[in-house]
């Protein structure tokens, strides 16, 4: 196993677009995964993340653009000649073969001799903590064990690039974290360039060197996990990664007590992470604690405001506190929000106006019609 990684296994998607009939799934996507780097691709379902992975694997052909691995163009190369390892969401082990035979499969296809095949497979299984299961069949293993076998199988051919397509979403919480850590350990140990697709933002942040947030076939932000969380590039990223409180603030607001107002008009919009927001009990506070959710180390506090937003709903505030602090924040307590450090994202009124105008232009007639329908519905509801 080569611990040093040659720069040859850098993965690049260059201007990749994909359309299925009239629906565009990916739009001019540029993504580079450095040699030995693990990039998670995070996004809601239907954002094109799986399509991007399948294009890299060769199961889909891009409508436009190029796929390069180590500078070699692979766009037209079929999957079986790309030399990429892959782990699927549904394991996709071969039920007619033992664990050992499953792991050996890639080597058998490559006509590696029997003895060497057996040894490599044994090593891989040991590495994935499955040494004693070699002679079992996949049906005799638990989900977590099966996914470990799938991992061993993908690594047995010593690929320089490994793709993981939501590998943990079928597993329960504890196993998920275990295998996540194992994947990370092996990936770093072997220096494999890895693309990890997931819709779970916690998973994406925990395992990655860099996180790419995908929405509607476009990358909204790609950066180290800390930056994606603390300095989201767009409102979408702020909302999708982690929880966030959205409040309006005057243009000259610089921190401290924040009068609760709905975003809109000439106010800036603040996107505040729970740890940056403090709720202080005050008799004349303009918010009320609604619920406490105890999760062990921290307690999540939700509060709602008297102030209503444009649709007439109260604003929701989220923060997390220690168990001791939670004692002062029982449901029904009047509180005021204080922003202790700079918010994750501040969208100024001017920026928002530009964005709104662009969105309206893009939506064109359809958007107007939808807005009309919405107001008709609202009227009917009243």
């Amino acid at each position: 196993m080569n611990a040093t990684t040659p720069a040859s296994n850098e993965v690049t998607l260059e201007g990749v677009s994909k359309a299925f009939g009239p629906t565009t799934v990916l739009q001019d996507l540029d993504l580079t995964i450095g040699a030995g780097e693990l990039v998670t691709v995070l996004g809601p379902s239907g954002c094109g993340k799986t399509t991007a992975l399948r294009i890299l694997a060769g199961f889909e052909k891009p409508t436009d653009g190029r796929v390069l691995v180590g500078g070699r163009e692979l766009t037209q190369v079929p999957p079986n000649r790309r030399g990429i390892g892959m782990v699927f969401q549904a394991y996709s082990l071969f039920p007619n073969m033992t664990v050992q035979d499953n792991v050996e499969y890639g080597l058998r296809v490559r006509k590696v001799d029997r003895e060497k095949r057996r040894r490599t497979a044994q090593d891989m299984l040991e590495m994935c903590g499955l040494g004693e299961f070699a002679l079992r069949f996949p049906a005799q293993l638990s989900g977590g064990q099966q996914q470990r076998v799938a991992l061993a199988r993908a690594l047995a051919t010593q690929p320089e690039v490994v793709l993981l397509d939501e590998p943990l979403s079928a597993l329960d919480a504890i196993v998920r974290v275990q295998i996540r850590e194992e994947i990370r350990r092996l990936q770093q140990q072997l220096g494999i360039t890895t693309m990890f697709v997931t819709h779970d933002q916690e998973e994406a942040l925990a395992i990655a060197d860099r996180v790419a947030v995908l929405r509607g076939g476009v990358i909204e932000q790609i950066d180290v996990p800390r930056a994606v969380y603390q300095n989201p590039a767009t409102e979408f990223v702020a909302r999708f990664v982690g929880s966030v409180t959205e409040l309006g603030a005057a243009a000259d607001y610089q921190g401290g007590r924040l009068p609760v107002r709905a975003p809109g008009g000439d106010l800036d919009t603040l996107f505040i992470r729970p740890e940056d927001l403090t709720l202080v009990p005050e008799p004349d506070g303009d918010c009320t604690v609604v619920s406490q959710i105890y999760t062990g180390e921290r307690t999540t506090i939700r509060a709602s405001s008297q102030e209503r937003d444009a649709e007439g709903n109260p604003l929701e505030l989220i923060t997390s506190v220690s168990a001791a602090e939670a004692a002062d924040l029982t449901p029904g307590t009047r509180v005021s929000p204080y922003v202790m450090s700079s918010p994750a994202l501040r969208v100024t009124a001017a920026e928002r106006h530009v964005a709104e105008r662009e969105a309206a232009l893009e939506a064109g007639e359809g958007g107007l019609r939808a807005a009309g329908a919405a107001s008709v519905q609202a009227g009917a509801a009243r």
Partner: protein, 287 residues
């Protein structure tokens, strides 16, 4: 009440008798000539060279039919399931057609076609093809026709088999590990639809062993045709061989049924589990 309980077995017994009596009678007739046990009727196996020729011909046809059927139908069905699900109904209709057309009509059609080709004159290409297809050493025309006759049943069986496995995941999993599509079909897909495969193979074998009208019309002496020919001058021998053939077919059916259970992934998994348990108990006892 008791009478009612037992009466359930009446139809079963009736069917069993209906099947068994002719078989038992033919066995009796074959090996008890004049009331005394004798295997003399089977001496025809060694004495009549035409039987060996007919058997070889039938076996060759059978093997070729099975191979052709598997090599064409399985990849076609896998392709349709994976890449062109819209073509499946068309394939289904095509494969079911032989069921609607009576075999004798197929025979007449084949005859007419071969005759037409032959009439193109000695030395012409159609004539040569016609001769080649009817070569008594290797009557490929029968292989082709038997494959078509098998299609309606084997299509259904393999189609059902492919529906029960996660085909797309298996093929993709295999492809990314470096396997070609054909390699995947033989290494992964076929072993996972063993039941359907065994049924198809068994059905094809039974059809090839038993088909008479087409072979006779094309005057190819396969075993059924030989039996008919021989029955006119050595009736006992023809019955004796028919019994033998019958037993062979049943034996094959038995083997197919047993091995389908034995090699099914679930069965293998269960046996592996048992073995493992045995080992651990032995270890526990030893320590």
């Amino acid at each position: 009440m008791d009478a009612l309980k037992h009466s359930r077995w009446v139809p079963v017994a009736a069917v069993a008798l209906y099947v068994a009596i002719p078989v038992l009678c033919s066995i009796y007739y074959a090996v008890f000539p004049g009331g005394e046990f004798s295997l003399r009727a089977y001496s025809v196996i060694t004495e009549d060279a035409s039987l060996a020729a007919a058997a070889t011909r039938t076996l060759t046809i059978t093997v070729l039919t099975v191979i052709t059927l598997v090599v064409t139908l399985v990849p076609a069905l896998v392709a349709v399931h994976l890449w062109a699900p819209k073509l499946r109904p068309i394939l289904e209709i095509l494969c079911t057609l032989p069921l609607v057309v009576p075999p004798i009509a197929i025979a007449a059609g084949v005859m007419a076609l071969l005759g037409m080709a032959a009439r193109q004159g000695r030395g012409s290409v159609p004539n040569a093809i016609s001769q080649f297809l009817q070569n008594p050493d290797l009557p490929l025309i029968l292989v082709g026709t038997y494959v078509v006759l098998c299609l309606p049943f084997t299509f259904r069986s393999i189609d059902a088999g492919l529906r029960t496995i996660p085909l797309k995941a298996m093929v993709e999993g295999s492809a990314i590990l470096g396997s070609s599509t054909f390699g995947t079909i033989f290494r992964v897909v076929i072993p996972n639809i063993r039941g359907s495969m065994l049924f198809s193979v068994f059905f094809a074998v039974a059809l090839c062993f038993g088909e008479y009208s087409l072979a006779a019309t094309l005057s190819q002496q396969t075993i059924p045709v030989w039996l008919d020919d021989v029955s006119s001058n050595n009736f006992r021998a023809s019955v004796a061989i028919a019994v033998l053939l019958n037993m062979t077919t049943w034996g094959l059916l038995l083997v197919a049924t047993l091995s389908a259970g034995r090699f099914a992934p679930a069965g293998r998994a269960a046996r592996a589990e048992k073995k493992l348990q045995k080992k651990t108990t032995q270890k526990a006892l030893a320590s």
